[in-house]
Amino acid sequence: MLDAIDKNLLKAVADLETIPKGAYNIRKNGRLESRNVTANIDIVTNEDNSGIDITVAPGTVNESLHIPVILNQVDLLDVVQNRFFIGEDADVIIIAGCGIHCGSDKPEGHTGIHEFYLKKGSKIRYVEKHYAAGPGSGKRTLNPVTKVFLEENAHAEMDLVQIGGVDRADRKNEAELGPGSSLLITEKVMTDGKQKAVSNNRIILRGKDSRAELISRSVIKGNSKQDFFGSIEAYAACYGHLECDAIVMDKGTNETVPALRSFHPDAELTHEAAIGKIANDQLMKLMSLGLDYDEAVNRIIQGFLQ
């Protein structure tokens, strides 16, 4: 049964007020809580019981899949390995996310490894939110790993968000793109207090005319630390762009290391990176529209992470 705390976590990470329509798999404290499959989306527990295998039938459109994970069990470090097999020309939305509620001084954590295999011409939009809350002082760890393999003309759009309350995050994103395929990853992470987050990204552009864009937005408050490492490697005539922006507030620190590696003469790779405080001209503008200083800061951060 889902209690009030569980429902709050589900709302935060998956925008779910009630049990979703369509296919879903809700995992609570390392075990299956509930599951629903549809004619086109099948979910089975994998052979070694470490997670689920999801198969989306070719040509499936206008369907969504929810796979939230919630945790409130003291001292549990849950590891889950999920695989997604997306059939040719399918076009689906996948909502994932992990919410931790920590009520004690003992640590709680989740490592979610998600592998995506997209067949020819298929499309996914993947939304993943991470959030931790609760009165306990135990360390909350979330280590998401995302691996994407795109066949010819497949397309993946991934929104990866860490909203707040996570003490340690070791994030990894990897992708390999076939001919004509495209990938857009947007990662938004906010840290505060003494929190630390590291994001490691490696995108391999293998196929001709493949395109990848990786956008990272970081807000670093308090004494927190965020590091971003992004690498795009090109082995064909292709296009890759890396954009990483960090807003540093208070005494936060940041290391941003973008890398472009071209192994083909017709590859076009670009990057832009910036670390800095909120620009004074932005604050002046919003204050001249009637907002006070704190409201102006909040609106700028909200927009930046929108």
Binding site: D281, M287, D292, G303
Partner: protein, 253 residues
Amino acid sequence: MLTIKNLVFSVTEQQDDSGEARKEIIRGLDYSFTQGKFYAVTGPNGSGKTTLGKLIMGIHVPDSGEIIFDGRDIVKLSISERAHLGIAFSFQHPARFKGMKFRDLLAIAAGTDDKEVLRRILLRVGLCSLDFLDKEVGSKLSGGEIKKVELATTIARNPRLAIYDEPDTGIDLWTIGPMVDLLKKERHEHGTTTIVVSHNEKFLEAADEVILLKDGAIAHAGTFLETLPMLKDLDLCSFGNICQEVTNARCYR
């Protein structure tokens, strides 16, 4: 509605001999602005035009002097407090916001996100496409587009006093005429006291009064025709001290 009394503003400047000195940008300025009139502030580069506008908005704090708005000295008020009193400022180089949509910025300015209200503001400033609301106020907007965004957010405030700092920067020649008409219409329909900082003759012609600043003080104030001879006066040329030392110098003004 706005009276400036003995206003002084200075900045610290690094000197060649490694010392620091105060440089006065506005030097004891006095002036009274009348409700509902259209003013153009002009003068050579570095004469203090933008600084005067920013002092009225509260973006700069003066060393001394008074700024009386509707009978109240507002010198100690913050930018946002002045905004709530009905003062608006349109920046020469508007800020760009990563991730923020024009819709969000306009909603902050208008104090509502009501679609119909925002649509009416767009029509008022001559932005016909509603799609424009979904554009990000980021680096992808052109110079002309960002100035239109700036203009719209200023007008959306329904200000009692609107200050436009070089509104024609980045705007093509064909758009300046309609922009002048728009500011005149706003003044006429809403009684907005309008101060435009500009070198552009079209704004100077449209003004009830042209204020000519030189070295942080008012050199002359009067109608455009009265001020015209002064504008042509070589004494106002900021390159004078350079070309006067050169034989056969050509004037690039």
